[in-house]
Protein backbone atom coordinates (compact mmCIF):
# COMPACT_ATOMS: atom_id res chain seq x y z
CA UNK A 1 0.00 0.00 0.00
CA UNK A 2 1.25 3.45 -0.88
CA UNK A 3 1.97 5.74 2.03
CA UNK A 4 -1.09 7.69 3.04
CA UNK A 5 -0.48 11.41 3.20
CA UNK A 6 -1.69 13.38 6.19
CA UNK A 7 -2.13 17.14 6.00
CA UNK A 8 -2.02 18.52 9.55
CA UNK A 9 -4.90 20.91 10.19
CA UNK A 10 -3.89 22.34 13.56
CA UNK A 11 -2.29 25.63 12.55
CA UNK A 12 -5.59 27.41 12.25
CA UNK A 13 -6.64 31.02 12.79
CA UNK A 14 -9.75 29.71 14.57
CA UNK A 15 -7.57 28.53 17.46
CA UNK A 16 -7.87 30.78 20.50
CA UNK A 17 -4.10 30.82 20.95
CA UNK A 18 -2.86 30.70 17.37
CA UNK A 19 -5.37 33.20 15.94
CA UNK A 20 -4.21 36.09 18.14
CA UNK A 21 -0.59 34.98 17.69
CA UNK A 22 -0.96 35.33 13.91
CA UNK A 23 -2.46 38.78 14.25
CA UNK A 24 0.15 39.95 16.77
CA UNK A 25 3.03 38.32 14.85
CA UNK A 26 3.95 36.36 17.95
CA UNK A 27 6.10 33.55 16.54
CA UNK A 28 6.36 31.43 19.70
CA UNK A 29 3.03 29.55 19.73
CA UNK A 30 3.04 29.16 15.96
CA UNK A 31 6.51 27.68 15.75
CA UNK A 32 5.73 25.52 18.74
CA UNK A 33 2.69 24.06 16.97
CA UNK A 34 4.58 23.59 13.69
CA UNK A 35 7.31 21.68 15.54
CA UNK A 36 4.80 19.47 17.33
CA UNK A 37 2.98 18.67 14.10
CA UNK A 38 6.30 17.82 12.46
CA UNK A 39 7.13 15.48 15.32
CA UNK A 40 3.79 13.74 14.78
CA UNK A 41 4.96 12.79 11.31
CA UNK A 42 2.46 14.65 9.16
CA UNK A 43 3.37 15.18 5.51
CA UNK A 44 2.11 18.73 5.08
CA UNK A 45 1.47 21.53 7.55
CA UNK A 46 -1.71 23.38 6.67
CA UNK A 47 -1.59 27.12 7.39
CA UNK A 48 -5.16 28.28 7.69
CA UNK A 49 -5.32 32.05 8.03
CA UNK A 50 -9.03 32.19 7.16
CA UNK A 51 -10.52 34.70 4.72
CA UNK A 52 -7.98 37.32 5.98
CA UNK A 53 -9.60 40.25 4.25
CA UNK A 54 -7.44 42.81 5.99
CA UNK A 55 -3.71 42.31 6.21
CA UNK A 56 -3.96 38.90 4.49
CA UNK A 57 -0.85 39.14 2.29
CA UNK A 58 1.42 40.37 5.05
CA UNK A 59 0.06 37.81 7.49
CA UNK A 60 0.51 34.85 5.14
CA UNK A 61 4.03 35.91 4.23
CA UNK A 62 4.92 36.19 7.88
CA UNK A 63 3.30 32.89 8.87
CA UNK A 64 5.03 30.99 6.06
CA UNK A 65 8.44 32.42 6.98
CA UNK A 66 7.82 31.80 10.66
CA UNK A 67 6.88 28.17 10.13
CA UNK A 68 9.64 27.48 7.59
CA UNK A 69 12.15 28.54 10.17
CA UNK A 70 11.34 25.46 12.26
CA UNK A 71 10.20 22.76 9.79
CA UNK A 72 11.22 21.49 6.39
CA UNK A 73 7.79 20.03 5.67
CA UNK A 74 5.88 21.33 2.66
CA UNK A 75 3.09 23.75 3.51
CA UNK A 76 -0.55 23.87 2.52
CA UNK A 77 -1.60 27.50 2.18
CA UNK A 78 -5.21 27.71 3.29
CA UNK A 79 -7.06 30.93 2.55
CA UNK A 80 -9.72 32.25 0.19
CA UNK A 81 -7.79 35.52 -0.19
CA UNK A 82 -5.84 35.16 -3.43
CA UNK A 83 -3.48 38.05 -2.64
CA UNK A 84 -2.57 36.33 0.61
CA UNK A 85 -2.15 33.08 -1.32
CA UNK A 86 0.30 34.69 -3.72
CA UNK A 87 2.25 36.33 -0.91
CA UNK A 88 2.63 32.89 0.70
CA UNK A 89 3.61 31.22 -2.57
CA UNK A 90 6.34 33.80 -3.17
CA UNK A 91 8.18 32.89 0.01
CA UNK A 92 7.33 29.18 0.37
CA UNK A 93 10.47 27.13 -0.28
CA UNK A 94 9.30 23.59 -0.45
CA UNK A 95 6.73 22.96 -3.25
CA UNK A 96 3.61 24.21 -1.47
CA UNK A 97 -0.02 23.16 -1.84
CA UNK A 98 -2.71 25.73 -2.64
CA UNK A 99 -5.71 24.96 -0.45
CA UNK A 100 -7.92 25.48 -2.33
CA UNK A 101 -9.34 26.41 -5.73
CA UNK A 102 -13.00 25.88 -6.57
CA UNK A 103 -14.72 25.95 -9.97
CA UNK A 104 -16.56 29.14 -9.14
CA UNK A 105 -16.09 31.31 -12.21
CA UNK A 106 -14.87 34.40 -10.36
CA UNK A 107 -11.84 32.62 -8.91
CA UNK A 108 -11.25 29.42 -10.83
CA UNK A 109 -8.85 30.77 -13.42
CA UNK A 110 -7.07 33.18 -11.08
CA UNK A 111 -6.39 30.34 -8.62
CA UNK A 112 -5.05 28.05 -11.33
CA UNK A 113 -2.81 30.79 -12.71
CA UNK A 114 -1.19 31.11 -9.32
CA UNK A 115 -0.57 27.38 -9.25
CA UNK A 116 1.00 27.54 -12.70
CA UNK A 117 3.12 30.60 -11.97
CA UNK A 118 4.60 29.19 -8.74
CA UNK A 119 4.60 25.53 -9.84
CA UNK A 120 2.55 24.72 -6.77
CA UNK A 121 0.20 21.81 -6.20
CA UNK A 122 -3.46 22.67 -5.86
CA UNK A 123 -6.49 21.28 -4.04
CA UNK A 124 -9.44 21.20 -6.45
CA UNK A 125 -12.62 21.53 -4.44
CA UNK A 126 -15.47 20.37 -6.69
CA UNK A 127 -17.68 23.30 -5.84
CA UNK A 128 -19.05 25.31 -8.76
CA UNK A 129 -21.32 28.26 -9.43
CA UNK A 130 -24.27 25.94 -8.84
CA UNK A 131 -22.93 24.90 -5.44
CA UNK A 132 -22.47 21.36 -4.27
CA UNK A 133 -22.41 18.65 -6.96
CA UNK A 134 -25.52 16.48 -6.70
CA UNK A 135 -24.00 13.08 -7.43
CA UNK A 136 -20.90 11.21 -8.59
CA UNK A 137 -21.50 12.14 -12.22
CA UNK A 138 -21.54 15.85 -11.53
CA UNK A 139 -18.37 15.41 -9.53
CA UNK A 140 -16.83 13.62 -12.51
CA UNK A 141 -17.91 16.43 -14.81
CA UNK A 142 -16.23 18.99 -12.53
CA UNK A 143 -13.04 16.92 -12.38
CA UNK A 144 -12.84 16.89 -16.17
CA UNK A 145 -13.41 20.63 -16.34
CA UNK A 146 -10.81 21.32 -13.68
CA UNK A 147 -8.14 19.07 -15.14
CA UNK A 148 -8.64 20.39 -18.67
CA UNK A 149 -8.29 23.99 -17.60
CA UNK A 150 -5.27 23.14 -15.48
CA UNK A 151 -3.68 21.30 -18.37
CA UNK A 152 -4.15 24.31 -20.65
CA UNK A 153 -2.20 26.33 -18.13
CA UNK A 154 0.55 23.73 -17.92
CA UNK A 155 -0.37 22.17 -14.58
CA UNK A 156 0.13 18.39 -14.68
CA UNK A 157 -2.42 16.02 -13.12
CA UNK A 158 0.18 14.98 -10.54
CA UNK A 159 -0.05 18.45 -9.00
CA UNK A 160 -3.83 18.32 -8.57
CA UNK A 161 -5.45 17.09 -5.36
CA UNK A 162 -9.13 16.46 -6.11
CA UNK A 163 -11.42 17.11 -3.14
CA UNK A 164 -14.76 15.40 -3.94
CA UNK A 165 -16.39 17.05 -0.89
CA UNK A 166 -17.33 15.03 2.15
CA UNK A 167 -20.73 15.93 3.53
CA UNK A 168 -22.34 14.86 6.81
CA UNK A 169 -24.04 11.49 7.03
CA UNK A 170 -26.85 13.09 9.01
CA UNK A 171 -27.74 15.26 6.03
CA UNK A 172 -27.89 13.03 2.97
CA UNK A 173 -26.64 9.47 2.60
CA UNK A 174 -26.61 9.68 -1.20
CA UNK A 175 -23.94 12.38 -1.01
CA UNK A 176 -21.90 10.16 1.31
CA UNK A 177 -22.11 7.37 -1.25
CA UNK A 178 -21.47 9.68 -4.21
CA UNK A 179 -18.23 10.92 -2.67
CA UNK A 180 -16.91 7.35 -2.35
CA UNK A 181 -18.11 6.47 -5.82
CA UNK A 182 -16.38 9.52 -7.27
CA UNK A 183 -13.16 8.56 -5.53
CA UNK A 184 -13.32 5.15 -7.19
CA UNK A 185 -13.70 6.77 -10.62
CA UNK A 186 -10.90 9.30 -10.26
CA UNK A 187 -8.00 7.41 -11.84
CA UNK A 188 -10.12 6.53 -14.87
CA UNK A 189 -11.22 10.11 -15.38
CA UNK A 190 -7.98 11.88 -14.54
CA UNK A 191 -5.05 9.47 -14.37
CA UNK A 192 -2.31 10.61 -12.03
CA UNK A 193 -4.45 13.05 -10.08
CA UNK A 194 -4.06 12.96 -6.33
CA UNK A 195 -6.93 13.46 -3.91
CA UNK A 196 -7.76 14.78 -0.49
CA UNK A 197 -10.77 15.29 1.78
CA UNK A 198 -11.86 17.28 4.80
CA UNK A 199 -12.61 14.04 6.59
CA UNK A 200 -14.29 15.09 9.81
CA UNK A 201 -17.20 16.68 7.97
CA UNK A 202 -18.65 13.17 7.60
CA UNK A 203 -19.57 13.14 11.28
CA UNK A 204 -20.70 16.74 11.63
CA UNK A 205 -23.85 16.73 13.76
CA UNK A 206 -23.21 13.31 15.29
CA UNK A 207 -22.57 13.02 19.05
CA UNK A 208 -19.05 14.36 19.69
CA UNK A 209 -17.67 11.27 21.46
CA UNK A 210 -18.86 8.95 18.70
CA UNK A 211 -17.50 10.93 15.75
CA UNK A 212 -14.17 9.02 15.46
CA UNK A 213 -16.02 5.81 14.54
CA UNK A 214 -17.51 7.47 11.49
CA UNK A 215 -14.35 9.39 10.61
CA UNK A 216 -12.08 6.35 10.69
CA UNK A 217 -14.51 4.02 8.93
CA UNK A 218 -15.14 6.52 6.17
CA UNK A 219 -11.41 7.11 5.80
CA UNK A 220 -10.80 3.39 5.30
CA UNK A 221 -13.64 3.29 2.75
CA UNK A 222 -12.19 6.22 0.81
CA UNK A 223 -8.65 4.81 0.92
CA UNK A 224 -9.93 1.55 -0.50
CA UNK A 225 -11.25 3.63 -3.38
CA UNK A 226 -7.93 5.34 -3.90
CA UNK A 227 -7.87 8.34 -1.56
CA UNK A 228 -4.33 9.79 -1.47
CA UNK A 229 -4.47 12.19 1.47
CA UNK A 230 -6.71 13.81 4.06
CA UNK A 231 -6.70 16.95 6.11
CA UNK A 232 -6.66 15.66 9.67
CA UNK A 233 -5.85 16.43 13.29
CA UNK A 234 -2.09 15.90 13.54
CA UNK A 235 -2.44 14.70 17.11
CA UNK A 236 -5.05 12.01 16.46
CA UNK A 237 -2.80 8.99 17.05
CA UNK A 238 -5.70 6.58 16.83
CA UNK A 239 -6.68 7.77 13.36
CA UNK A 240 -3.03 7.66 12.34
CA UNK A 241 -2.75 4.02 13.40
CA UNK A 242 -5.36 3.09 10.81
CA UNK A 243 -3.40 4.54 7.90
CA UNK A 244 0.02 3.24 8.89
CA UNK A 245 -0.84 -0.45 8.79
CA UNK A 246 -1.01 -0.90 12.56
CA UNK A 247 -4.72 -1.75 12.53
CA UNK A 248 -4.83 -4.00 9.51
CA UNK A 249 -7.44 -6.30 11.10
CA UNK A 250 -9.98 -3.47 11.08
CA UNK A 251 -8.98 -2.27 7.62
CA UNK A 252 -9.41 -5.82 6.36
CA UNK A 253 -12.83 -6.13 7.99
CA UNK A 254 -14.07 -2.91 6.41
CA UNK A 255 -12.67 -3.88 3.01
CA UNK A 256 -14.25 -7.30 3.22
CA UNK A 257 -17.65 -5.76 3.90
CA UNK A 258 -17.21 -3.32 1.03
CA UNK A 259 -16.45 -6.26 -1.25
CA UNK A 260 -19.85 -7.66 -0.37
CA UNK A 261 -18.70 -10.51 1.84
CA UNK A 262 -21.19 -11.49 4.52
CA UNK A 263 -19.85 -10.84 7.98
CA UNK A 264 -21.27 -12.67 10.96
CA UNK A 265 -21.78 -9.96 13.58
CA UNK A 266 -21.65 -12.52 16.38
CA UNK A 267 -18.13 -13.50 15.42
CA UNK A 268 -16.85 -9.94 15.96
CA UNK A 269 -15.46 -8.35 19.12
CA UNK A 270 -16.96 -5.10 20.43
CA UNK A 271 -14.61 -2.82 18.54
CA UNK A 272 -15.07 -4.72 15.28
CA UNK A 273 -18.83 -4.61 15.73
CA UNK A 274 -18.73 -0.84 15.97
CA UNK A 275 -16.75 -0.58 12.77
CA UNK A 276 -19.06 -3.05 11.04
CA UNK A 277 -22.10 -1.01 12.10
CA UNK A 278 -20.42 2.15 10.89
CA UNK A 279 -19.78 0.55 7.50
CA UNK A 280 -23.45 -0.34 7.29
CA UNK A 281 -24.66 3.20 7.88
CA UNK A 282 -21.98 4.77 5.67
CA UNK A 283 -22.85 2.50 2.74
CA UNK A 284 -26.56 3.12 3.25
CA UNK A 285 -27.24 -0.51 4.06
CA UNK A 286 -28.89 0.64 7.27
CA UNK A 287 -30.32 4.04 7.95
CA UNK A 288 -28.18 6.30 10.13
CA UNK A 289 -29.35 7.64 13.47
CA UNK A 290 -27.36 8.99 16.38
CA UNK A 291 -27.69 5.59 18.08
CA UNK A 292 -26.24 3.69 15.13
CA UNK A 293 -23.71 1.88 17.30
CA UNK A 294 -26.36 0.53 19.66
CA UNK A 295 -29.12 -0.71 17.44
Amino acid sequence: MAKFVRIGENLNVMSKILGPAMKERNAGPIQDMAKKETEKGVDFVDLNIGPARKDGAAMMEWVVNTVQAVTNLPLALDTTNLDAMEAGLKVAKNSPLINSVTLQSDRFEAGLKLAAKYKASVVAVLWSDTGMPRDANERAMHIVEFVQKASELGIPNEKIFIDPIVSPISVEINQVKACVECMGMLQDIAPGCKSTVGLSNISNGAPEELRPWLNITYLIMLIKNGLYSAIVDSFDDRLKSFVTGERQNIVNLVNKMLDGEKVDMNSLNDEEKKFAKSVKVLTGETLFSNSWLES
Partner: protein
Amino acid sequence: MAFDIPKIDYSGKIREITLGSGDKAVKVGGASCFPFYLFEGKMPNLPKISMEVWDYQPDDWAEAAVEPFKDVIGDPVAWAKKCVNEYGAELITLQLKSIDPNGLNRSAKEAAEIAVKVIDAVSVPVILWGVANHEKDTEVLRLIAEKCEGKRLSLGPVEEGDYKQIGAGAIAYKHLVIASSPIDINLAKQLNILLGNLGVGEGQILVDPTTGALGYGLEYTYSVMERDRMAALTQEDEKLQYPIICNVGVETWKIKESKLKEQEDPKLGDAKKRGIMIECVTAMSLLMAGADILIMRHPESITLIKKMIKDLSSPE
Protein backbone atom coordinates in the same frame (compact mmCIF):
# COMPACT_ATOMS: atom_id res chain seq x y z
CA MET B 1 -39.60 -18.10 -22.69
CA ALA B 2 -42.18 -16.82 -20.24
CA PHE B 3 -41.88 -13.22 -19.16
CA ASP B 4 -41.51 -12.68 -15.43
CA ILE B 5 -42.59 -9.32 -14.13
CA PRO B 6 -39.76 -8.05 -11.91
CA LYS B 7 -40.79 -7.95 -8.29
CA ILE B 8 -39.35 -6.19 -5.29
CA ASP B 9 -37.89 -8.50 -2.69
CA TYR B 10 -39.49 -7.42 0.57
CA SER B 11 -37.68 -8.60 3.66
CA GLY B 12 -39.59 -6.57 6.26
CA LYS B 13 -43.12 -5.82 7.32
CA ILE B 14 -44.86 -2.89 9.00
CA ARG B 15 -46.00 -3.70 12.54
CA GLU B 16 -49.71 -4.05 13.10
CA ILE B 17 -50.82 -1.60 15.77
CA THR B 18 -54.20 -1.38 17.47
CA LEU B 19 -55.69 2.00 18.36
CA GLY B 20 -58.40 2.10 20.98
CA SER B 21 -59.98 -0.80 22.79
CA GLY B 22 -63.18 -2.80 22.57
CA ASP B 23 -65.12 -3.66 19.44
CA LYS B 24 -64.48 -0.29 17.78
CA ALA B 25 -60.71 -0.66 18.10
CA VAL B 26 -58.90 0.02 14.84
CA LYS B 27 -55.94 -1.89 13.48
CA VAL B 28 -53.44 -0.15 11.23
CA GLY B 29 -50.21 -1.24 9.55
CA GLY B 30 -49.27 -4.81 8.77
CA ALA B 31 -48.28 -4.07 5.17
CA SER B 32 -45.74 -6.34 3.49
CA CYS B 33 -45.38 -4.26 0.33
CA PHE B 34 -45.11 -0.66 -0.82
CA PRO B 35 -48.39 1.28 -0.63
CA PHE B 36 -51.02 -0.38 -2.82
CA TYR B 37 -48.46 -2.66 -4.51
CA LEU B 38 -50.96 -5.44 -3.94
CA PHE B 39 -49.48 -7.44 -6.80
CA GLU B 40 -46.37 -7.84 -4.65
CA GLY B 41 -47.64 -8.19 -1.10
CA LYS B 42 -50.47 -7.59 1.30
CA MET B 43 -52.04 -4.64 3.07
CA PRO B 44 -54.16 -6.42 5.67
CA ASN B 45 -55.36 -3.07 7.02
CA LEU B 46 -56.10 -0.36 4.49
CA PRO B 47 -55.19 3.21 5.45
CA LYS B 48 -57.66 4.86 7.83
CA ILE B 49 -58.96 8.40 8.02
CA SER B 50 -59.36 10.18 11.32
CA MET B 51 -61.71 13.16 11.43
CA GLU B 52 -60.45 16.15 13.32
CA VAL B 53 -62.31 17.98 16.06
CA TRP B 54 -61.01 21.11 17.75
CA ASP B 55 -61.33 21.56 21.47
CA TYR B 56 -62.52 25.14 21.08
CA GLN B 57 -64.34 27.02 18.39
CA PRO B 58 -61.85 27.88 15.66
CA ASP B 59 -62.06 31.47 14.48
CA ASP B 60 -59.88 31.37 11.39
CA TRP B 61 -61.26 28.48 9.36
CA ALA B 62 -62.21 28.76 5.71
CA GLU B 63 -65.96 29.10 5.25
CA ALA B 64 -66.11 25.84 3.30
CA ALA B 65 -64.56 23.94 6.22
CA VAL B 66 -66.88 25.48 8.82
CA GLU B 67 -70.04 24.87 6.82
CA PRO B 68 -70.51 21.11 7.47
CA PHE B 69 -69.94 21.61 11.20
CA LYS B 70 -71.58 24.99 11.80
CA ASP B 71 -74.19 23.47 14.13
CA VAL B 72 -71.58 21.81 16.39
CA ILE B 73 -68.40 23.82 15.96
CA GLY B 74 -68.53 25.36 19.44
CA ASP B 75 -69.12 22.02 21.16
CA PRO B 76 -66.34 19.43 20.81
CA VAL B 77 -68.55 16.62 22.16
CA ALA B 78 -71.38 17.23 19.70
CA TRP B 79 -68.83 17.76 16.94
CA ALA B 80 -67.13 14.43 17.61
CA LYS B 81 -70.51 12.66 17.75
CA LYS B 82 -71.51 14.19 14.45
CA CYS B 83 -68.29 12.93 12.84
CA VAL B 84 -69.02 9.41 14.02
CA ASN B 85 -72.78 9.26 13.59
CA GLU B 86 -73.23 11.30 10.46
CA TYR B 87 -69.97 10.88 8.59
CA GLY B 88 -69.07 7.41 9.83
CA ALA B 89 -65.67 8.37 11.26
CA GLU B 90 -63.66 5.33 12.38
CA LEU B 91 -61.20 7.48 14.31
CA ILE B 92 -61.40 10.91 15.93
CA THR B 93 -58.51 13.29 16.43
CA LEU B 94 -59.00 15.91 19.11
CA GLN B 95 -56.76 18.84 18.27
CA LEU B 96 -55.92 20.37 21.64
CA LYS B 97 -55.57 23.83 20.21
CA SER B 98 -56.94 25.55 23.30
CA ILE B 99 -53.85 24.75 25.38
CA ASP B 100 -51.45 26.82 23.29
CA PRO B 101 -49.59 29.15 25.67
CA ASN B 102 -49.47 31.70 22.84
CA GLY B 103 -53.21 31.44 22.33
CA LEU B 104 -56.10 30.63 24.64
CA ASN B 105 -53.70 28.96 27.11
CA ARG B 106 -56.38 26.85 28.73
CA SER B 107 -55.26 25.06 31.88
CA ALA B 108 -54.35 21.38 31.77
CA LYS B 109 -57.19 20.53 34.10
CA GLU B 110 -59.82 22.29 32.03
CA ALA B 111 -58.47 20.96 28.71
CA ALA B 112 -58.33 17.42 30.10
CA GLU B 113 -61.94 17.62 31.28
CA ILE B 114 -63.11 18.52 27.79
CA ALA B 115 -60.95 15.82 26.25
CA VAL B 116 -62.30 13.16 28.60
CA LYS B 117 -65.88 14.17 27.71
CA VAL B 118 -65.10 13.77 24.02
CA ILE B 119 -63.37 10.43 24.59
CA ASP B 120 -66.32 9.15 26.64
CA ALA B 121 -68.88 10.39 24.10
CA VAL B 122 -67.56 8.36 21.19
CA SER B 123 -66.87 4.65 20.97
CA VAL B 124 -64.21 4.98 18.28
CA PRO B 125 -60.51 5.37 19.17
CA VAL B 126 -59.32 8.90 19.88
CA ILE B 127 -56.04 10.55 18.90
CA LEU B 128 -54.96 13.55 20.97
CA TRP B 129 -52.81 16.15 19.29
CA GLY B 130 -51.11 18.87 21.32
CA VAL B 131 -49.42 22.07 20.24
CA ALA B 132 -45.75 20.94 20.20
CA ASN B 133 -45.00 22.94 23.31
CA HIS B 134 -43.07 20.43 25.39
CA GLU B 135 -44.08 21.60 28.84
CA LYS B 136 -47.72 22.18 28.08
CA ASP B 137 -48.21 19.04 25.99
CA THR B 138 -46.58 16.97 28.71
CA GLU B 139 -48.83 18.42 31.39
CA VAL B 140 -52.05 18.02 29.42
CA LEU B 141 -51.36 14.67 27.77
CA ARG B 142 -50.20 13.07 31.02
CA LEU B 143 -53.35 14.17 32.77
CA ILE B 144 -55.58 12.79 30.04
CA ALA B 145 -53.53 9.59 29.91
CA GLU B 146 -54.05 9.08 33.61
CA LYS B 147 -57.80 9.74 33.49
CA CYS B 148 -58.28 7.34 30.58
CA GLU B 149 -56.07 4.46 31.62
CA GLY B 150 -56.07 1.49 29.24
CA LYS B 151 -58.02 3.18 26.42
CA ARG B 152 -55.06 3.02 24.07
CA LEU B 153 -55.37 6.67 23.13
CA SER B 154 -52.74 8.00 20.74
CA LEU B 155 -50.73 10.84 22.30
CA GLY B 156 -48.84 13.29 20.16
CA PRO B 157 -46.81 14.94 18.97
CA VAL B 158 -44.03 13.35 21.01
CA GLU B 159 -40.68 14.93 20.21
CA GLU B 160 -37.10 14.45 21.35
CA GLY B 161 -37.66 17.20 23.91
CA ASP B 162 -40.58 15.54 25.69
CA TYR B 163 -40.49 11.86 24.78
CA LYS B 164 -39.43 10.79 28.26
CA GLN B 165 -42.30 12.50 30.04
CA ILE B 166 -45.06 11.63 27.58
CA GLY B 167 -43.55 8.21 26.85
CA ALA B 168 -43.57 7.38 30.56
CA GLY B 169 -47.25 8.35 30.70
CA ALA B 170 -48.02 6.08 27.76
CA ILE B 171 -46.20 3.17 29.41
CA ALA B 172 -47.85 3.66 32.79
CA TYR B 173 -51.40 4.13 31.51
CA LYS B 174 -51.21 1.93 28.39
CA HIS B 175 -51.57 4.35 25.53
CA LEU B 176 -49.80 4.89 22.20
CA VAL B 177 -47.32 7.63 21.35
CA ILE B 178 -46.99 9.52 18.09
CA ALA B 179 -43.25 9.93 17.52
CA SER B 180 -42.82 13.20 15.72
CA SER B 181 -39.68 14.41 13.96
CA PRO B 182 -39.07 17.46 11.75
CA ILE B 183 -39.06 15.91 8.24
CA ASP B 184 -35.77 14.10 8.82
CA ILE B 185 -35.41 10.37 8.35
CA ASN B 186 -32.39 10.00 10.64
CA LEU B 187 -34.08 11.88 13.46
CA ALA B 188 -37.24 9.82 12.96
CA LYS B 189 -35.28 6.64 13.45
CA GLN B 190 -33.39 8.08 16.42
CA LEU B 191 -36.62 8.99 18.23
CA ASN B 192 -38.02 5.49 17.72
CA ILE B 193 -34.83 4.07 19.20
CA LEU B 194 -35.04 6.42 22.18
CA LEU B 195 -38.68 5.48 22.80
CA GLY B 196 -37.73 1.82 22.62
CA ASN B 197 -34.90 2.34 25.10
CA LEU B 198 -37.33 4.10 27.41
CA GLY B 199 -39.52 1.01 27.42
CA VAL B 200 -42.35 2.06 25.12
CA GLY B 201 -43.52 -1.21 23.55
CA GLU B 202 -43.35 -2.05 19.88
CA GLY B 203 -47.12 -2.03 19.74
CA GLN B 204 -47.35 1.49 21.11
CA ILE B 205 -45.65 3.63 18.49
CA LEU B 206 -47.01 5.57 15.52
CA VAL B 207 -44.71 7.80 13.47
CA ASP B 208 -45.43 11.37 12.43
CA PRO B 209 -42.89 12.55 9.83
CA THR B 210 -44.33 16.12 10.04
CA THR B 211 -46.72 16.99 7.27
CA GLY B 212 -46.18 19.69 4.70
CA ALA B 213 -49.21 20.76 2.65
CA LEU B 214 -49.31 20.94 -1.13
CA GLY B 215 -47.04 23.83 -2.07
CA TYR B 216 -45.71 24.03 1.46
CA GLY B 217 -43.22 21.18 1.69
CA LEU B 218 -45.32 18.19 0.66
CA GLU B 219 -42.38 16.91 -1.41
CA TYR B 220 -40.13 16.86 1.64
CA THR B 221 -42.65 14.91 3.66
CA TYR B 222 -43.33 12.26 1.08
CA SER B 223 -39.64 11.86 0.25
CA VAL B 224 -38.92 11.11 3.90
CA MET B 225 -41.87 8.72 4.04
CA GLU B 226 -40.67 6.88 0.96
CA ARG B 227 -37.21 6.51 2.47
CA ASP B 228 -38.83 5.30 5.68
CA ARG B 229 -40.90 2.64 3.91
CA MET B 230 -37.96 1.50 1.79
CA ALA B 231 -35.81 1.03 4.89
CA ALA B 232 -38.64 -0.69 6.75
CA LEU B 233 -39.69 -3.04 3.97
CA THR B 234 -36.57 -3.75 1.94
CA GLN B 235 -33.76 -3.18 4.46
CA GLU B 236 -35.42 -4.87 7.43
CA ASP B 237 -34.96 -1.74 9.53
CA GLU B 238 -36.93 -2.73 12.61
CA LYS B 239 -36.76 0.75 14.05
CA LEU B 240 -38.83 2.11 11.19
CA GLN B 241 -41.46 -0.60 10.86
CA TYR B 242 -44.20 1.48 12.47
CA PRO B 243 -47.38 2.83 10.91
CA ILE B 244 -47.24 6.46 9.76
CA ILE B 245 -49.78 9.11 10.72
CA CYS B 246 -50.14 12.45 8.91
CA ASN B 247 -51.87 15.53 10.26
CA VAL B 248 -53.24 16.65 6.90
CA GLY B 249 -56.31 18.82 7.54
CA VAL B 250 -54.64 21.30 9.86
CA GLU B 251 -51.80 21.83 7.42
CA THR B 252 -53.75 22.14 4.18
CA TRP B 253 -56.56 24.33 5.51
CA LYS B 254 -54.24 26.87 7.10
CA ILE B 255 -52.50 27.89 3.89
CA LYS B 256 -53.46 31.05 2.06
CA GLU B 257 -54.69 29.19 -1.03
CA SER B 258 -57.25 27.27 1.04
CA LYS B 259 -58.54 30.31 2.85
CA LEU B 260 -58.82 32.99 0.18
CA LYS B 261 -62.37 33.75 -0.86
CA GLU B 262 -63.15 33.58 -4.54
CA GLN B 263 -63.86 37.31 -4.81
CA GLU B 264 -60.44 38.08 -3.27
CA ASP B 265 -58.69 36.32 -6.14
CA PRO B 266 -61.14 35.17 -8.84
CA LYS B 267 -58.47 33.41 -10.91
CA LEU B 268 -58.02 30.84 -8.12
CA GLY B 269 -61.58 29.66 -8.73
CA ASP B 270 -64.25 28.31 -6.41
CA ALA B 271 -63.01 28.49 -2.83
CA LYS B 272 -64.72 25.34 -1.56
CA LYS B 273 -63.60 23.14 -4.41
CA ARG B 274 -60.11 24.58 -4.13
CA GLY B 275 -59.77 23.89 -0.40
CA ILE B 276 -61.06 20.36 -0.78
CA MET B 277 -58.77 19.61 -3.71
CA ILE B 278 -55.70 20.89 -1.85
CA GLU B 279 -56.59 18.63 1.06
CA CYS B 280 -57.20 15.68 -1.28
CA VAL B 281 -54.05 16.09 -3.36
CA THR B 282 -51.99 16.28 -0.19
CA ALA B 283 -53.75 13.29 1.34
CA MET B 284 -53.47 11.21 -1.82
CA SER B 285 -49.75 11.92 -2.22
CA LEU B 286 -49.13 10.89 1.37
CA LEU B 287 -51.13 7.70 0.89
CA MET B 288 -48.95 6.78 -2.06
CA ALA B 289 -45.86 7.42 0.06
CA GLY B 290 -47.01 5.13 2.86
CA ALA B 291 -49.39 6.90 5.25
CA ASP B 292 -51.46 4.56 7.43
CA ILE B 293 -53.60 7.20 9.13
CA LEU B 294 -54.64 10.55 7.64
CA ILE B 295 -56.13 13.16 9.90
CA MET B 296 -58.53 15.12 7.70
CA ARG B 297 -61.05 17.91 7.94
CA HIS B 298 -63.64 18.24 5.19
CA PRO B 299 -66.27 15.47 4.85
CA GLU B 300 -66.21 15.74 1.06
CA SER B 301 -62.44 15.34 0.98
CA ILE B 302 -62.81 12.28 3.16
CA THR B 303 -65.46 10.75 0.89
CA LEU B 304 -63.21 11.24 -2.11
CA ILE B 305 -60.11 9.79 -0.45
CA LYS B 306 -62.05 6.81 0.90
CA LYS B 307 -63.20 6.07 -2.63
CA MET B 308 -59.65 6.32 -3.90
CA ILE B 309 -58.48 3.87 -1.23
CA LYS B 310 -61.25 1.48 -2.21
CA ASP B 311 -60.48 1.75 -5.92
CA LEU B 312 -56.75 1.26 -5.41
CA SER B 313 -57.27 -1.80 -3.28
CA SER B 314 -59.97 -3.57 -5.27
CA PRO B 315 -58.80 -6.67 -7.16
CA GLU B 316 -59.67 -5.40 -10.65
